[in-house]
């Protein structure tokens, strides 16, 4: 997902959490609909909207500074033995619950492969394709400027 990231390679869980954070609630909802509805789970921390302070660095590489906040929503659930967490930009509480349930389910080895195959991998692929398309559109506006030699030498 974050193939240009500065940080170390991502774990499986970081990858699926990143995919879930970017997903639309409807896609997650439809996934459960297609698989017999939501499983039974407990809410440990109800979905809550707050903010995250976004930090930047002076010059891109220097001193940290606060650039402003963004809305974010988080949720914690328990599904059988697993705790599931979700964190995403925005204010979608319904999505936060669904993503947390999926995070818990993905930690269960019995369900992991199927959810990866049917939901996470296709979403990741879509994201990468959209990114590639945006990059190719930008690349079509790449220019070569020529400096003209002035005067008669």
């Amino acid at each position: 997902m974050n193939d240009q990231s500065q940080s170390s390679p991502k774990t499986d869980r970081q990858i699926w959490m990143a995919v879930l954070a970017r997903a639309e609630a409807k896609v997650l909802h439809d996934y459960f609909e297609a698989h017999g509805g939501l499983p039974v789970f407990q809410i440990m921390k109800p979905a809550e909207t707050g903010t995250v302070m976004l930090e930047g660095r002076a010059g891109g590489s220097g001193r940290r500074f606060n650039a402003g906040e963004a809305t974010m929503t988080r949720c914690v659930v328990r599904l059988e033995g697993q705790l599931g967490f979700s964190y995403a930009l925005g204010r979608d509480k319904h999505k936060a619950v669904l993503a947390a349930v999926l995070d818990a389910a993905l930690q269960d080895t019995a369900q992991h492969d199927q959810i990866m195959r049917e939901l996470i991998t296709p979403l990741l692929q879509q994201h990468n394709e959209a990114k590639l398309e945006a990059s190719r559109k930008a690349a079509a506006t790449k220019v070569e400027f020529f400096t003209l030699v002035r005067g008669d030498g």
Binding site: Q4, E55, G62, R63, T71, G90, A134, S135, K142
Partner: protein
């Protein structure tokens, strides 16, 4: 001084209805949806998010709709909403070197690694009306290059930095957490983090005017746009309960690196110095203005005499915030009856004393 007054409830309620009617305009014209504003007024959304200091495109769109397009009122709505929310923490500093670039230009290097990418810009349009937009706008088929852009594009100042000709931008010892003006009062002299946070949420018009003044000679810098880049960056957050970084999603940002000539001083060799601009959304004018003002506020660091407004940090930082500024200017609309009554009586008293004095003097003269 403003003194509280009572009364006028019915009149105030009536204004709420009246403003709702004014906002809606001609009801035979279809109503704007928040989603339409979000998708089709992106640059306005960006400005509201910057000055409201909250990244949320839906809320910024709602704010614009509610305020009838009044940017400062919209920013005020975002600021007010923000105060109702808990803060979950701070992000990992965003890495603009890893930006998924949609636009990236340099006015200092024509052949820079990764290339000049114009992206979606009005720079090369003729500023002639496109009357087709008054009818049904048809979106043209957009060209796609065979190859995407380079996955990683170096930031332009980092290229010159390798030669030691560019002022370096490195974190101070220990990479300290930044100052937060939403929690602590600003004190002077203000450090770079305080200045950058204030400029980030500062009014675009105010910063543009200051940047313009610098260029026109009221600030002594001659800036080059070393690089402007715009695109999407990932926001990472480390929840305490997990202890590892998770992606929260992506945001669109614009970054500007201004480069300025510097003659050098006693302890500093001649080099290029830098100003930095960073803004939410596609906000080039804001990012460029911020970068110029950031550099002019480094006057103290480079031993430059702060002769002009754009170099004086108290002046700039105390007046950049348009929500505070409009609050203070516009509070003059509120009832000041007691104050005014006091002044009126004082004036009458002085007048009558003056008249009395004059007549006594006249009598004495006679």
């Amino acid at each position: 001084m403003y003194v509280a007054v009572k009364g006028g409830e019915a009149a105030i309620l009536a204004t709420h209805d009246l403003v709702a009617e004014a906002r809606r305009g001609d009801v035979s014209v279809p109503e704007l949806s928040v989603a339409q504003i979000r998708e089709q007024m992106k640059l306005a959304i960006a400005r509201v998010m910057n000055e409201g200091s909250l990244y949320d495109e839906d809320l910024a769109a709602l704010a614009l709709k509610q305020s009838q397009g009044d940017m400062i009122e919209a920013a005020f709505l975002l600021r007010a909403y923000r105060t109702t929310l808990p803060r979950f923490g701070s992000s990992v500093p965003v890495d603009t070197a890893a930006m998924a670039i949609r636009r990236r230009i340099s006015a200092t290097y024509k052949d820079l690694p990764g290339g000049q990418v114009l992206g979606p810009t009005y720079d090369y349009t003729h500023r002639l009306f496109d009357f087709a937009l008054m009818a049904d706008g048809v979106v043209p088929e957009v060209a796609q290059a065979d190859q995407p852009l380079d996955a990683v594009m170096p930031r332009v100042p980092d290229i010159l930095g390798a030669e030691g000709l560019m002022e370096s931008e490195l974190p101070p010892q220990g990479d300290p957490a930044p100052f937060d003006l939403t929690r602590d009062p600003v004190e002077f002299p203000a450090d770079r983090d305080v200045r950058l946070q204030t400029l980030s949420r500062g009014d675009e018009g105010f910063l543009l005017g200051l940047a313009y003044s610098v260029q026109r000679g009221f600030g002594g810098n001659h800036p080059f746009a070393g690089e402007i880049r715009m695109g999407e960056v990932t926001v990472e957050f480390v929840p305490e309960e997990l202890g590892f970084a998770v992606d929260l999603g992506d945001i669109t940002v614009t970054e500007c690196q201004m480069v300025n000539q510097f003659q050098g001083a006693k302890d500093i060799p001649p080099q290029f110095t830098r100003g930095y601009g960073f803004a939410f959304g596609h906000s080039e004018r804001k990012a460029m203005s911020m970068a110029i003002v950031d550099r002019s506020l480094k006057a103290r660091q480079f031993g430059e005499a702060a002769l002009y407004p754009a170099q004086q940090e108290e002046f700039v930082l105390y007046h950049a915030d348009n929500v505070e500024a409009s609050g203070f200017v516009e509070h003059l609309k509120l009832p000041h009856y007691v104050d005014f009554q006091g002044e009126l009586e004082l004036l009458r008293k002085i007048r009558s004393e003056q008249i009395e004095r004059q007549s006594t003097q006249q009598e004495a003269a006679e």
